[in-house]
Structures are given as structure tokens and as C-alpha cells.
Symmetry: C2
Subunit: 126 residues, 2 copies
């Protein structure tokens, strides 16, 4: 426990908060989930992740790369082929991401249910 801890997620300017902000993003979580299976091609991720655009995928991957969580490997072939994979640091995120996604799978219905039951009053029709 000695040298550990990069601050507290509550503190705005500490590495822990930076790390939270890095991964607590809707696309980032899904992309990491996609990467957690092993090396994947850009196009595969596009197919895999419903609703993501090429731009957002590239952008998200670049961010992961810049923060040391993913690595990009471009094969100098034709047609071009680019694979992404988690780095060793990124691999430490597999568990947290899976815990999160498992929660989502297990409780998505309940969330949807609650949302459905609580439709915020939109203003009366009169």
C-alpha cells in the first residue's frame, strides 16, 4: 500500500480522476469491451459495435492509445489492415469492464423499467 494510489476520484486534479474520465465514457466502455476479446480490426469493431461511427471509433481508439491502454498496428498491405489490441495496462481493465457490462446486462431491464415507470411530467396538455 505504500507508494500506491494516485489520489482520490473526488479530487479534480489527480491522476485517479483523470483515469475515471478516460474510461467513463459511453463509447470507451463499449470499445474496451470489444478489445477485451483480443486483437480486432477497425472494421470488425464497426460491425460489432452497433451505432458507432468510424469517426468516433477512431477517436476513441486514439485516446486509449494515447493513454497507454491500447496499441495500434497498421499492416502495410493492400487493402489496408489495422488491428488494435489492449496493452498490458489496458488488460488490467478487462475485469472492471466486464463487471460493468455484466451489471448492464443483468440490470438493463430494471433500468428500462424504472425509466418507463417514471416518465417525467412533460407539462399538461392544456
Amino acid at each position: 500500500m505504500s507508494g500506491f494510489g494516485s489520489g482520490d476520484p473526488f479530487l479534480a486534479d489527480c491522476p485517479a480522476r483523470l483515469a475515471v474520465e478516460l474510461i467513463a465514457d459511453k463509447w470507451t466502455v463499449v470499445v474496451l469491451y470489444g478489445l477485451s476479446k483480443g486483437p480486432v480490426r477497425h472494421g470488425e469493431l464497426i460491425e460489432l459495435i452497433g451505432g458507432i461511427s468510424r469517426k468516433m471509433l477512431t477517436q476513441t481508439l486514439r485516446r486509449l492509445e494515447a493513454h497507454g491502454l491500447a496499441r495500434r498496428h497498421a499492416y502495410a498491405e493492400a487493402p489496408p489492415r489495422v488491428e488494435y489490441e489492449l496493452t498490458q495496462l489496458g488488460a488490467t481493465l478487462i475485469d472492471p469492464i466486464h463487471v460493468l457490462t455484466e451489471w448492464a446486462v443483468a440490470n438493463g431491464d430494471a433500468v428500462l423499467d424504472a425509466l418507463d415507470a417514471d416518465p417525467e411530467p412533460v407539462a399538461h396538455s392544456g
Copy 2:
């Protein structure tokens, strides 16, 4: 485990994805982390969470409320007092959130390090 699962986080239009999008948000994670300690007042959260504005806090709490993860309790007193706490559904998120924040605390430095080592080329000064 039989009837479980509200889809796959990869699918754009399933409850699992909705759930991911609900919590995979920078403020949401930190607010949930704050709520995980038990009932908290709005003002306490403001003090606790560095950098959050009242607007974002209220907005985030409202979203959690609407999705059944948090509950708001306003005491009809003076001065006004409002407490927020996790619902039973929200409490199931404590573990995932803690796993995430613990990862952030443990690896924040490494992330910062990688970011520092990879300063994206900004265009040469010439």
C-alpha cells in the same frame, strides 16, 4: 441465470446498452461513488466532488433518479435539506463502481505517465 440478460452491450438498441450509457459518464461515476457511502446531502456532494457544478450535480442526480438508481428525499424544513441515496437497484452498482474507482486509483499514475510519454505531435514549429 436463465431468463437473464437484457441484450448485449454491443447492440445499439437494447437495455444493456442503455444501462452502459447511463453510467458510463464522467460525472455519473463520481456521483455514484459519492452515493455509495450512504445518504448524502446535495451540498455535501458539492463539497466532496471537486470540480462539479450545481447544475451538473442536480442533472446527474435527476438522471439517476429517473432510471431508478437513486432516490431524492427533500425535508420540508428550514433551511431546506435534500438528501440523496441509492435505491436497491442502485446499490447493486456499488461493487462495479468500486472496482472501477479502485482501478483508477491504482493505475492513474500509469495512465498519466503514458499520456506524458506520448504527447501527440502537435505540428512542428516551422
